[in-house]
Amino acid sequence: MSAIFILAGLPGDHRVLQPAGPQGANIEWLYWVVFWILLVVYVLVVLGFTHAGKRAYTPARGILPIIKDRSGDRRAAWVVGIAVTLTVLTLFAVLFMTVITGKKVEGLTSKNPITIQVIGHQWWWEVIYPNSQPDQTVTTANEIHLPVGKPVVILTNSADVIHSFWAPNVNGKRDLLPGYSSAFWMQVDQPGTYHGQCAEFCGLQHAHMGFSIVAESEDQFRAWKEQQLKPAPEPSSPGAGHGREVFLTHACVMCHTIRGTDAGSRMGPDLTHLASRNMIAAETLPNTRGALAGWIIDPQRIKPGNHMAPNLLEPGDLEDLLTYLETLQ
């Protein structure tokens, strides 16, 4: 038992039992209620078998004769009957709490919610803040910003296979099914960055399909959104200018968008504000100059099987490309 508590105390705060919002908290409450009920049941049944075994244990080398005496069976029938009744009542209690909690988790609504569209790709997340005016629509990848304390509605879809959207601290998971659009709600109350990961097996790089939820104050969120709406800035130095040339004349432009330039493909993540993100490659590497260089040159070494091809750039070209990408705040 003590081992269990030692294990429970291991570091790491990416946990189901450390909720950051009302839905996570409701589920955590249900978890602990059901956990204690089941623990009591387990202890009782184990004690029952241990006691029955001790009581009936008869040391003998040979084979004992068959007991024909049935006098105990009447009482046993009563005990078993009561035990089954208690089991049924316990299950009803669990069912009741399940339905109540389910309603609470699903029942989160708001008149004027922020809508975020999440589209699963092999192996990254496209994140869109839709707006009826195209120039007011934010498109980013793998990093979801939202204001604390506000219900947010997530519209799900998938571009290829089934993925599953899961940030354990916030809410349970939801599958992203190709051909099905669905919606679910979530809300984060504690400011902070929460990790999430694809939970449905989706092929070679299922392990490296993370995302993060950045919960921040209303003002910070608005500022972030304002920044994301802007097109990419014009390069301010000759190096960055050459970097943009490299981007637009090499394979990069085949898959990525940088708004404000001619790059407009939506095969891969939108890079207009790449430098504003904390991580790259779906939460696989930190967004540093070195990591970005490694990723651009040989993404197949870092995420074998992913859909980005290696780029054999001249050292100077690479340096300038990195300089340009670092300006995409």
Binding site: V46, I162, F201, G203
Partner: protein, 644 residues
């Protein structure tokens, strides 16, 4: 006890006559002609145990890769093949073939008091089909064409667009092979139970293990077609461009999941019910009394079989179905706890009011109680929709279903093997080694799988080939991997014990445990004809309840393989039937069918051209050879035996 005595002291001339009639041909080709259920049952058990060992090796590689963060033992491509083949092997090539087919084919006719299984050639055919299916899957893995889309191969990942090559086709066709095999055995076992029970073994006296085998057989007959349909649809999507599962042209990815889990959840009970069957058989034997609550247990078994078909959606709670319909499946999933709980209480009462002899098989039975219960209770959590949203597809689930499947099938399997190996081989297993095996396995199992609960709650998804150190999953994963060493050691001890016992073990005799069912009324191992004197039954435990002058069945011819057919309810003798003898045709047919199935992976014409040899083989199989002259409708007599 009464009827066992004259059977062992077989009059020599009748023994010779019956051995000639029921004996199987010797030699190399004889092996392929053999249609006796004891031989086929042993083959199922040995083959599926070998697949269990192979699947275990794969599990070891998985745990090796996950033992530390960013490990490089295997890459993602190989890892995906390994976990897919591990899961598929353990479910389709080990658990069902061992628990249902292996134990069932060997034991059911003996417990019924019959000389062979119904449709013995179909039964033999089923084994070869199963074997080819297993070799196909493993051949694929060894040629780097191993299935790699998970043991349930969800579309569209397993579809033509996302899995190139032949990997998913091999998986889909392996499913067809193993399910054809399970269906064939289900028909053989259900017919044997319903039509070949010894006179006197009315439904109300049928041993619980037969009730379970019957329930499972019926569940197989209803569940397997769903998965055969879905794997065939997947295969057609991949080979002849049907679009069942392609959402861009109106196909449906959820349809696959519904069909798969409509099979997949009953499958869990097809694996688990044989486990409880073994428990319900062993508990009375080692408590030295009849089981308490025969009627509630039988009702529970049948209810589990039915309810098993109404819970499949709990595998799909995260797909976003409406809350109302999910609540219905929560209720159904919770309801299925009731029959299992009832059985637990009845076993407890049986032990409580018995005289417990804590022999080796009983140690495993108690292991089952303590281990399976954890899986059963965590299953209550999974039935609860909001909790399932959190732990679905995480290591919590991995922990849960290993507790259910290893707890509910593997612990009973070892209990059953220690119990029945003396019957299979005629020699006892070593008690001391058996206990070492238990403790190594018990400690290793809990170390490996209990830690996975924590990993799941800490957000580790299933089927990831690696993870970063920042997730802090390393310590728990290392502990989990260390457990594998203990389990491996345990299984090695079992193997040593088995091979030692086969050579040097103490002779078992007909009935080393003082058990009550009919398989103990004949010598160990049973002769080619199973029973010299065909028994009749006077109570739920045939041997314990036998009268001192319990009648035996007479009037069955011994110069031809003739069996008694009784009616389903009261087991009254109705007529006699001449059983098919050894034949090479089931083997040849299985080869023809295998050619068609495997060819169809590469070309749709495989089915068309492959049908020709199948037809030829079936004509050969079914060619009328004429019956031995035997009066069909005369009632066999029951003779009073002179005891001694």
């Amino acid at each position: 006890m009464a009827i066992s005595e004259p059977i062992i002291a077989a009059p020599a001339h009748r023994d010779q006559q019956l051995s000639r009639t029921w004996g199987q041909p010797p030699g190399f080709w004889g092996w392929f002609k053999n249609v006796h259920h004891t031989a086929i049952g042993i083959r199922y058990m040995v083959t599926s145990f070998i697949f269990f060992l192979l699947g275990g090796v794969l599990a070891g590689i998985l745990r090796w890769q996950l033992a530390r963060p960013e490990n490089n033992a295997v890459g993602p491509d190989l890892y995906n093949q390994i976990f897919t083949v591990h899961g598929s092997t353990m479910i389709f090539l080990f658990a069902v073939p061992m628990m249902f087919q292996g134990f069932g084919v060997y034991l059911v006719p003996l417990i019924c008091g019959a000389r062979n299984i119904a449709f013995p050639r179909l039964n033999a055919f089923s084994y070869y089909i199963y074997l080819v299916g297993g070799l196909l899957l493993w051949g694929g893995l060894l040629l780097n064409t191993g299935a790699d889309a998970g043991w349930f191969s969800y579309v569209p990942l397993s579809g033509p667009e996302f899995t190139a090559g032949k990997r998913s086709d091999i998986w889909a066709q392996m499913i067809t092979f193993t399910e054809v095999s399970a269906l064939a055995v289900a028909i053989c076992i259900a017919t044997t139970i319903l039509r070949h029970r010894a006179p006197g073994m009315t439904l109300n006296r049928m041993p619980i293990i037969l009730w379970e085998k019957l329930t499972i057989a019926i569940a197989v007959i209803f569940a397997m077609p769903a998965v055969m349909v879905v794997s065939s649809m997947l295969l057609m999507d991949r080979t002849i461009n049907t679009q069942f599962f392609n959402p861009s042209v109106g196909g449906d990815v959820l349809l696959y999941q519904h069909l798969f889990w409509f099979f997949g959840h009953p499958e869990v009970y097809i694996i688990f019910l044989p486990g409880t069957a073994i428990i319900s058989t062993l508990v009375p034997v080692f408590s030295r009394r009849h089981i308490f609550g025969y009627v509630p247990i039988v009702t529970s078994v049948v209810a589990t079989g039915f309810l098993g078909f109404s819970v499949w959606v709990h595998h799909m709670f995260a797909t976003g179905l409406p809350q109302m319909s999910e609540s219905f499946f929560t209720a159904a999933s919770l309801m299925i706890v009731i029959p299992t709980a009832t059985q637990f209480y009845c076993w407890m009462a049986t032990i409580w009011h018995g005289r417990l002899q804590f022999k080796l098989p009983m140690l495993w039975v108690f292991g089952f109680f303590f281990v399976f219960l954890i899986g059963g209770l965590s299953g209550v959590m999974l039935a609860s929709v909001p909790l399932d949203w959190q732990v679905h597809d995480t290591f919590f689930i991995v922990a849960h279903f290993h507790y259910v499947l290893i707890g509910g099938a593997l612990f009973p399997m070892f209990a059953g093997l220690y119990f029945w190996i003396p019957k299979f081989t005629g020699r006892m297993m070593d008690d001391h080694l058996g206990r070492i095996h238990f403790w190594l396995f018990f400690v290793g199992f809990n170390l490996t799988f209990f830690t996975m609960h924590f990993l799941g709650l800490r957000g580790m998804p299933r089927r990831v080939y690696t993870y970063t150190p920042e997730m802090h999953w390393g310590t728990l994963n290392l502990l989990s991997s260390v457990g594998v060493l203990f389990m491996t050691a345990g299984v090695l001890v079992f193997l040593v014990n088995f091979f030692r016992s086969k050579r040097y073990g103490k002779l078992a005799g007909a009935d080393p445990w003082g058990a009550g069912t009919l398989e103990w009324a004949t010598s160990s191992p049973p002769p080619a004809y199973n029973f010299l004197e065909l028994p009749t039954v006077n109570g739920r435990e045939a041997l314990w309840d036998a009268e001192p002058n319990q009648p035996i069945v007479g009037g069955i011819r011994e110069d031809i393989p003739e069996m008694l057919v009784t009616n389903s309810l009261d087991s009254e003798p109705q007529y006699k039937e001449e059983m098919p003898g050894p034949s090479i045709w089931p083997f040849l047919t299985s080869i023809a069918v295998s050619i068609a199935f495997i060819w169809s992976i590469f070309s749709p014409w495989g089915i068309a051209y492959g049908a020709i040899p199948v037809t030829i083989a079936l004509i050969g199989w079914l060619w009328p050879r004429g019956k031995s002259p035997t009066p069909r409708y005369d009632n066999p007599r029951m003779e009073k035996s002179w005891n001694g």
